[in-house]
Symmetry: C2
Subunit: 231 residues, 2 copies
């Protein structure tokens, strides 16, 4: 049976950019599971199946509804144990730190670089909510935040130093082959790639090699992403 | 046979504060291995057994000489496999990211908070080298850097947010029980504890609970550390 995920979409139904939804897409591809998606928008809260937290991803599998990318990864691992996302309890525990490092340390830089482009790609019905909530959180008009993005990219590059040093020693965060922790990090880069033409990495950054490897996985899944026509 | 580690010491032979050496001490305690230490100072480069990189820890075990805390952990795991530090290849791979996160992201804050106190605890023969090299690297007199340490502690607290979120879900970075990744993080806190009375964490920080658990491990190993009498 095909799994179904409610997935954040832009003005273009095919423009899908949520870092959390990209994680789920890669976890399913890792396991060889077919995943269908339903385009969802911030203004569609009432359309999500219960239980949910008012946001995506929400996965529906065999009558079960699971929300939150981390809980979905745990669900997939339990329900579809082939091709595991974690090879041990310690690996699973440490992947949680990686996930939180991505969300608390890396995501804020992505937001600051791309929030204006992300806004431009949204459905008109989502733009008002998105601008208001983000400007309130960031304390500035989106256009002002994005004006500093070259500088933000430098800060982002510095924050990535632990990842750079790690990938100087091994091919993936998870070791010789990619797994859940890589998808958590890569979701941030897919978000950036989908919403903007401005590159989150400078061209000389050695992290480009890992990002290219990730883009090529699963028959080039990342390359198939529809990018923001409005950016 | 008892292992032997060359360990950075201050003016007081018993004052041992290197975060990298603390990691090795915890890895040995984890495995139930007896570890003897040799007090070593920056000016003693010629006294280190070969091969070495001019710095500590250097471990001597059964005629083998191994330097660098990460390589020592790998060596211990191979040579003394009981009570493993890693429970899988993925766990080992991800622990490397944790190690680099500690070194590249957390250690610079510790340095900025405590470099003056650390200097005060050093042997007179090390103080000149230490002050010169650190002031060159940091671009300011030690006394000036430390004057901002309340502010630095706030930045450090923000950088710790991924750890705080993780330890809100599980007892240790490594899961239900501590292992190598915890020792990598905790080494930074032992360094801070040993060189200064200024607390790296505010008293309300929930990370205190994890730090207390770590201090209590292995018959309270961390509590036995001799703190800096000059700070």
């Amino acid at each position: 049976m095909t799994l179904k995920m409610y997935d954040l979409a832009g003005a273009d139904d095919a423009h899908r950019f949520s870092p959390y939804c990209w994680r789920v897409r890669y976890c399913c591809a890792h396991k060889g599971l077919k995943l269908a998606t339903v385009a969802w928008r911030f203004s569609d809260k009432a359309l999500l199946p219960a239980p949910n937290e008012g946001t995506v991803p929400v996965l529906v599998d065999d009558g079960q509804v699971v929300s939150d990318s981390w809980r979905i990864a745990q669900y997939l691992e339990a329900k579809h144990p082939d091709r595991p996302l974690f090879d041990s309890p310690q690996a699973r525990a440490q992947a949680l730190l990686v996930k939180f490092w991505v969300e608390r340390t890396l995501h804020p830089f992505i937001t600051r670089m791309f929030v204006r482009d992300a806004w431009a790609g949204l459905h008109a019905g989502d733009q008002g909510y998105f601008r208001d909530s983000r400007e309130k959180r960031l304390g500035k008009p989106l256009e002002e935040i994005v004006r500093e993005r070259e500088h933000t990219r430098g800060q982002f590059a510095a924050a990535l130093e632990p990842l750079r040093a790690t990938l100087n020693e091994q091919s993936f965060v998870s070791g010789a082959t990619p797994a859940c922790a890589d998808y958590a990090v890569f979701g941030a880069f897919m978000w950036a790639r989908c919403v903007s033409r401005f590159d989150a990495l400078e061209s000389a950054d050695p992290l480009n090699r890992w990002r290219d490897r990730m883009l090529d996985l699963y028959d080039g899944l990342g390359h198939t992403a529809v990018r923001n026509a409005a950016a």
